[in-house]
Structures are given as structure tokens and as C-alpha cells.
């Protein structure tokens, strides 16, 4: 293990919060936007093919 790796040392809670809030902000748009046309088409085709 590299000397700078200290997995047991605590990260300040405020830093953890900042990081997680920013992660959520990066990916939030993907969670709310509609599926792109190509994926909707693909699902339609699969369903039609299988008759489901």
C-alpha cells in the first residue's frame, strides 16, 4: 500500500457532503430527462419482436 493511502483516516463530514452533493448535481439531469429516441426505438423493436 502506498504511504499516502490512509483508508482509515477520517474525511471531514463537510467534505464528504460537498463531494456527494456535487456528484448528485452532475448526474441529476440524466435521472430526470426522457430516454433518448434511439433507446425508446430499441425497446419498441424488442417488444414488437417478442410480442410482449
Amino acid at each position: 500500500m502506498a504511504p499516502k493511502d490512509k483508508p482509515t483516516s477520517k474525511i471531514p463530514p463537510g467534505v464528504v457532503r460537498q463531494i456527494d452533493e456535487n456528484l448528485k448535481r452532475i448526474y441529476a439531469p440524466k435521472l430526470t430527462e426522457e430516454l433518448p429516441e434511439r433507446l425508446q426505438d430499441l425497446l419498441r423493436q424488442l417488444r414488437e419482436r417478442d410480442g410482449t
Partner: protein
Amino acid sequence: MMKIPDPRDEMIAHLPALRAFALSLVRNGPAADDLVQEAILKAWSSFDKFTPGTNLRAWLFTILRNGFYSDLRKHRREVQDSEGQFAARLSQKPEHDGTLAMWDFQRGFERLIDEQREALVLVGALGFSYEEAAATIGCAVGTVKSRVNRGRKRLAELLQLEDGASIIPADPVQTAVTSQQTSLNG
């Protein structure tokens, strides 16, 4: 009578998060959707192997990440940017407004190794439990915890984050207000 839900229907609900996860792995929208498309096709042809009642989300995410890592083995990417160049750009930014902070954050996040990035996205951004993330990745729960912890530490170092001295507003209400102001002013 209770009907067993068809995983084909259930899968739809997981696709937005699956797209977010794909984006975290490949870092550009069209390539992310290629990965999702590939995962949908693989899942569709393997639903007979899925055990109803088990975790469909973890199953789908596993299919997607297997596809990603198998592509990655074929085309190994190299990060060209050096530590020094990254640090220099950080110190050159003119203002610590929300937009620039977000830009820095994303660049810093992209510098994490794949294993740390995916663990952080699953747990930090998409709300997976450590157990669910471990099932998705196919590793021990302790390994996920360690990757999340190391990823956060690395980001804190890269972005020089300190407790109480944020480059971005830490308070959620303030964050929302600031991001609105940024978009209004920007």
C-alpha cells in the same frame, strides 16, 4: 391474483440511473448511450437467467459494467494530463463561482481511477447501499467502502477541499439559490 412483474417492464424504471452510471464510466453522452443500448440488448436476451425477486437494478448495472470493462480491455485509455497541469489550472481560475467550481469538480472526478469513480457514483450519486454496490461490482462490501473513501480523499486533495471552507456552497438551499442565480446571470 398477484402477477409476477415482468423484468422487461421493471427495467424501464432503472434506465435513467443506468444512463447516469454509463456516463460516469465513458464520460460522453453518445458513448454512454451506446453502452446502455448494448446493456439493454444483453439483458433482453438474458432475462431467462434473471431470478425474479432478486435485485434487478444490480443485475442490470452489472451487465452494463461488464460491457464497459470488456470494451476497455480492448481500447485502453490513457489520461494525458499531468498532476502539475491540473493544479496550475485550478489556481488560475478567476472566480470561485458555482459554474467554475462544478467544472473543476468534474475534471477532478474524471481523474479518479475507474474503480473509485464507479464506487462513488453508485454510492454517492445514485444512492446504492454499500451492499448493493458490492453486488453490482462483484466485490466485497469492504472493498466498496475503501474505494469510496479513497475516491473522496483523492478528490478532496485534488480540489483542495477543506471542512467548512468550501469552493462550492455546502448548504443545499444556498446551493439551489446560487445555481439559480448563476443560470439567471450567466
